[in-house]
């Protein structure tokens, strides 16, 4: 059986919890051999491979997985604060560069300060900076400098979640 040239890198990245993005050459390889990798991860480790237009990542059935919740809280608060600031958050997340200080300002002055303080990853500057390093390792953000970053297309996993949640709530009301 022939393995792709970057097989090891693909497996290491996905098992390491990274989002593989269309800007990465491995994404094309993964897309071309989607069925193979789906079976590979399912049979080998029991994980599901999720392939979307803008990213690919692995999903495990761990019920105590907390990072995803914290990422959702992070995006929710950031979007809310950017909007409150009169800014078009979707444009900013798609196209702008952020600085750690700017993010920290939004969180320190957030209307959801209670949620921030009660979250172990987001409660203060140090934990937030570590959290953003985690986002970088997972390819949810891409660092452009020691304290600067842009969001990758992986953010759509979380904005899509919000959209679905809003739609399901609307449907409930109707």
């Amino acid at each position: 059986m022939e393995y792709s040239k970057n097989h090891r890198q693909i497996v290491e990245d996905l098992i390491g919890g990274k989002f593989i993005l269309p800007t990465n050459k491995n994404f094309i390889e993964l897309k071309e051999k989607e069925k193979f990798y789906e079976d590979f991860f399912k049979f080998s480790f029991g994980h599901d491979l999720i392939m979307r237009q803008d990213f690919a990542f692995l999903v495990s059935d761990e019920t105590n997985e907390m990072l995803s919740r914290d990422v959702c809280i992070f995006f929710a608060i950031l979007c809310y604060e950017l909007d409150k600031d009169g800014r078009n958050f979707l444009d900013l997340i798609n196209y702008s560069e952020f600085e750690y200080d700017q993010i920290n300002d939004y969180f320190e002055n957030s209307s959801y300060l209670e949620v921030v303080r009660n979250n172990s990853r987001l409660r203060d500057i140090n934990t937030r900076n570590e959290f953003m390093d985690t986002l970088d390792r997972r390819n949810i953000i891409e660092k452009t400098g020691p304290q600067k970053f842009t969001f990758t297309t992986a953010h759509k996993n979380f904005t899509d979640f919000a959209m679905e949640l809003a739609k399901s709530k609307t449907a409930d009301v109707e």
């Binding site: 809310y80 009169g86 958050f89 919000a162 959209m163």
Partner: protein
């Protein structure tokens, strides 16, 4: 008494701030309420009610007032403040233009004055249609941009509602009116008219009417350009902009719902990394070995091995019995060799060693004379040198 146009223009210029406020109040309420007019005059410390009525720019309706539609339109035009018309309103031009065109075609050889008048009427209708479309696009674009900038601090839910409303009731129907691929759209009809008019401007028998057709034809060319421009604004700018507002507001609405109960809402799954990595430096080999079990190789059939040889089991009681029958035995190994030959026709090493264990039976007495020479016994595998051992019973048997 007829008022000089310049007088009205001069008056408008001089009191423009007051007139602007009156215009805003009229647009907001649909008419000018007396108390609002009084407030405006008080604010500017000037009452222009008498001139407004005298110049016929305003009329009284009961206790309230109404800006005359011509003046209102003029103000809308110079202020570029148009309320978007519902597409049904614009669609009415579809009927009037179609009807005039049908009559022009049917009665092309009828009364020349009537024909000329119809050509000019259709020209007016087309002009009004284009103006209505332009005004709608301008007003929708301005309102959308304002919503995007959100200077009014509109609630995100209302943003979704407004964006959805504009899309569903104004933008998409307007887009359909301007859809060149749709046969019944106004713009498609204008193409047909243009084709007909182009023909007539070249070969209609009457010079004056030919010129009217000529004017209409060039107007239609310009109209086509204008409408295409409006269509491009709608599809390239307005629709994406308003869709983005709707998307953004929906996302925000979802996040706010989530933040109400962030620990009880089901979130998207993510991968939980293990500290003990599944991968090692031999990952590639391990993965290969793992995957190869799923590889489709040629089928191999393995037959069960059948061992036909009965495994020999040493029956100690049987051989002990045999030995007892012959006691005393002068040379144990001679006896063993002879017994095996009798029983199995050959002396096998394993069997000889098995019989040797009889020497350790407690009820047998052994004597070993060192002076006697060792004897040789040939088995199927070896030639063994064995001592001379005499076996007898303990006591009286």
């Amino acid at each position: 008494m007829r008022i000089e146009p310049k007088t009205i223009i001069r008056f408008t210029l001089e009191y423009f701030d007051i007139i602007r406020d009156m215009f805003d109040a009229h647009v907001a309420e649909g008419l000018l309420k007396q108390e609002h007019v009084a407030e405006i005059f008080l604010k500017h410390n000037r009452n222009i009610e008498a001139q407004m009525l005298e110049y016929k720019l305003m009329r009284r309706i009961g206790n309230d007032f109404d800006l005359r539609s011509e003046y209102l339109n003029f103000l809308k035009f110079i202020l570029e403040e148009f309320r978007p018309l519902l597409p049904e309103h614009i669609e009415k031009y579809n009927y009037s233009i179609s009807e005039l065109f049908r009559k022009i075609k049917d009665e092309i050889f009828g009364d020349k004055d009537v024909l000329d008048s119809r050509v000019k009427n259709i020209s007016n209708e087309i002009r009004e249609f284009v103006t209505a479309v332009e005004h709608n696009t301008i007003s929708l674009l301005e309102q959308t941009r304002a919503l995007k900038a959100n200077l009014e601090k509109v609630d995100y839910r209302e943003k979704v509602q407004r964006a959805s409303f504009w899309i569903d009731y104004y933008i998409l129907p307007l887009n359909r009116i301007l859809d060149v691929t749709h046969n019944e759209s106004v713009i498609s009809k204008l193409y047909n008219i243009s084709e007909f008019v182009n023909n007539k401007r070249l070969n209609f028998y009457d010079e004056n009417i030919r010129q009217s057709f000529e004017s209409l034809y060039f107007q239609l060319i310009q109209t086509n350009d204008d409408l295409l421009k409006q269509s491009r604004i709608l599809t390239n700018e307005l629709l994406p902009l308003i869709e983005r507002i709707r998307t953004e507001s929906t996302i925000l609405s979802g996040f706010i719902t989530f933040l109400r109960n962030p620990y009880k809402t089901q979130v998207p799954k993510m991968f939980k990394r293990k500290n003990n990595m599944v991968l090692s430096s031999n990952a590639a080999l391990n993965a290969k070995a793992f995957m190869e079990q799923f590889a489709k190789d040629d089928t191999i059939y393995l037959e069960d091995l059948i061992d036909n040889n009965d495994k020999w089991i040493f029956d100690i009681d049987y051989f002990k019995g045999k030995l007892r029958e012959q006691l005393p035995v002068n040379n144990f190994f001679d006896w063993a060799a002879t017994t095996l030959e009798k029983e199995y026709t050959a002396i096998e090493s394993d069997k000889l060693f098995a019989l040797t264990t009889l020497l350790f039976e407690e009820d047998l007495q052994l004597e070993f004379d060192e002076k006697k020479k060792n004897k040789k016994i040939k088995t199927d595998e070896y030639t063994l040198k064995v001592p001379n051992i005499t076996v007898s019973n303990y006591g009286i048997f």
